[in-house]
Amino acid sequence: MALDRWLALVLLGICLAYGYAAWFTMDAGLAPFMKRNPIWPSTFPKVLSVLGIIAALVILLGFEKAAPKEADIDYRRLGEYNLGQALLLLALMVVYALCLRPLGFLISTSALLFLGSFILGERKWHIMLPVALIAAVSVWYLVQVVLGIYMRPLPGILGG
């Protein structure tokens, strides 16, 4: 079974779970006066879940034959690409998300930009460091000072 049909199976599962919630569990908490309303919070989701299940089944059962075409990246040979770099970058983004608040914007962002280019194989330290620092400070300045959107610049312990 090709990947697109596996994904259709997953999507079918999502639609089924969503449909179950819409058809069977949502209406229980509905206030009595709202039951006289022609539309309930679950009405639209009910319609969506049915349509979603039908469409996912059409793909899963292969009713619609698509001409196989050359994909940009062949997922069957994923190992031949720079998979490690991609995974490391994703991990870096997760770490950034977790560190943004505790470490402050300036440190986390410079680290993200610096480590990002490091993972991609850049080793010119004299360019990487200044670029990361200047970008982090200037974006912070633009957002915080010019636009007035608060972002904690420094770690909490330094009073940022």
Partner: protein
């Protein structure tokens, strides 16, 4: 009207107001390029500045300039990085980004600038002529028709996914609609499908989803399979559009200015629907040969949404200025600013404060001209973003996607959602699922449900479908749009297999 025009010209051409237009356009363009800050948030940020000026004409001129600039700036990041920061420019990335990948970034930006200019200018002309008459037409559109119009838009998008892809596009559209129902709906004040997670209470963020669907998978693909963004020789070539291309996009611009403007006039529709519908319509009426070009870097496919969204922005001023009804979030903020300045938009505006009404219209012409003049010479420099070495460009793309998701919400959970959705989107992209329909479904989902709910309440059931001929007509079009491509594909296949055509 001539008198009004001259009053407007006099007001708009004062040194102060000219500076306002220029300043507004510049601010809008530069901030609009940052993904995550759309026209609505930029205008909201500019309001204190505008109000403190005290002069309503100048304030409105400044804010309108910001609005145009932001829409134009947003298309820049859509085209160059596939990171649409504004819902209205999502459609521009369908063909703009492939063009940039083929090394035609300069040309793509030029087409976008010209299309925006034409859309905005023609829109302003139409606004001048039709504003008073149109306001009554806009009132004929009820929630039922809005609902039907959105169904048409979504089906058109599923239909243009191409043969063999309609079911996938439909699933993605539905998934987008499903995701739009997460969180509290405006009509019910009940948290739905949040699974008890507080962070989902307000639903998924649009920018988060846009970044996860477009920018993040693209960046990951660039990492997985290194290739030059700039074509083969790394040069920015083909800056100018050829006469042939100009001839190809001229009718597109003409049609889309009209269509975009009239969609913009309808309250609630706005630039987003106009750009998607514009793209879908142009794709469906293009000759077969050009139809295959769409999505792979067609000039027409870029010109259509760019024209339509600018024309629609202008159109959305019609209900604001003539009825006092803001048609979109952005115009709602403008309405707030106007009221703070002691101006009440509505039917009396043209009578009581003609100089404001006409000055805004004249400043639209001036603003569009200034955007064009400012942007055309800047294009080679903007396009040079792509010549930044890959090792620096990719971390920056990742950073901007994260920033975009963070600035709007100031919530770090949004970043985790971004990464999670980005991984899902990459898997879907591997399996050749179209991602745009998901985002479109998500954007239109809330509006669609609200209009559906409102018409259900007005008609006490689904009878509005057959009691309102216009709704029925629109829904019929939607069904034809979905069924026709698969029927056509089936027939083409049958013909290939040697089955005689029964006619």
């Amino acid at each position: 009207m001539l008198e009004g025009l001259l009053i407007g010209l006099q007001t708009a051409l004062s040194v102060q107001n000219l500076l306002m237009v220029i300043g507004g356009c510049l601010i809008g363009t530069f901030i609009g390029m940052l993904p995550g800050l759309g026209p609505m948030s930029i205008i909201a940020i500019m309001i204190p500045v505008a109000i403190s000026m005290g002069d309503p004409s100048a304030a409105l001129i400044l804010l309108a300039g910001v609005y145009y600039g932001a829409i134009f700036g947003g298309s820049t990041s859509s085209i160059l990085l596939n990171a649409p920061g504004v819902a209205g420019t999502v459609a521009s990335s369908f063909d703009g980004y492939p063009m940039a990948r083929q090394g035609k970034a300069g040309k793509a930006l030029t087409v976008a600038a010209i299309a925006s200019f034409a859309g905005g200018t023609i829109g302003a002309l139409l606004l001048m002529v039709f504003a008073p008459a149109l306001s009554s037409v806009a009132l004929l559109f009820h929630s039922a028709e809005y609902f039907a119009l959105m169904v048409v838009g979504l089906s058109a998008i599923a239909a243009f996914a191409g043969t063999g892809q309609v079911a996938k596009a439909l699933v993605m559209t539905l998934l987008g609609l499903i995701m739009a129902t997460v969180g509290e709906g405006a009509l019910f004040n009940l948290p739905r499908f949040t699974m008890g997670i507080m962070d989902l209470q307000s639903g998924f963020g649009f920018i988060t989803l846009a970044m996860a669907m477009f920018a993040l998978p693209e960046a990951l693909f660039l990492v997985l399979k290194p290739r030059d963004l700039q074509g083969d020789d790394g040069e920015i070539k083909e800056l100018r559009i050829t006469g042939k291309e100009a001839k190809a996009i001229a009718p597109v611009i003409g049609r889309q200015s009209l269509q975009g403007f009239f969609i913009g006039v309808l309250p609630g529709a706005g630039a987003t629907i106009a750009s998607f519908l514009g793209y879908a319509v142009e794709r469906n009426i293009a000759p077969k040969k050009e139809q295959d070009e769409f999505g792979k870097g067609s000039v027409k496919g870029l010109a259509a949404p760019e024209t339509a969204n600018n024309a629609a922005c202008t159109g959305s001023f019609v209900p604001l200025l003539t009825l006092g009804i803001p048609g979109s979030g952005t115009t709602a903020i403008l309405l707030g600013a106007l009221i703070a300045l002691n101006v009440t938009p509505g039917p009396r505006l043209m009578v009581d404060d003609p100089q404001i009404f006409w000055a805004v219209i004249m400043s639209m012409f001036i603003g569009n001209l200034i955007l064009l003049v400012l942007n055309l010479p800047l294009i080679p420099y903007i396009a040079r973003v792509l010549t930044v070495p890959r090792n620096y460009l990719i971390p920056f793309i990742l950073f901007f996607t994260l920033m975009g998701a963070y600035i709007g919400q100031n919530n770090a959970t949004e970043l985790l959602l971004l990464v999670g959705f980005g991984i899902c989107a990459t898997a879907l992209k591997f399996a050749d699922y179209p991602l745009a329909p998901l985002l479109i479904g998500f954007i239109l989902g809330a509006m669609m449900e609200n209009n559906f709910a409102r018409s259900m309440q007005l008609y006490d059931g689904v009878s509005f479908v057959w009691e309102r001929p216009m709704t029925l007509g629109l829904l019929a079009i939607a069904i034809i749009l979905v069924v026709l491509p698969s029927y056509r594909a089936r027939r083409a296949k049958a013909r290939q297999d040697g089955v005689a055509e029964g006619d």
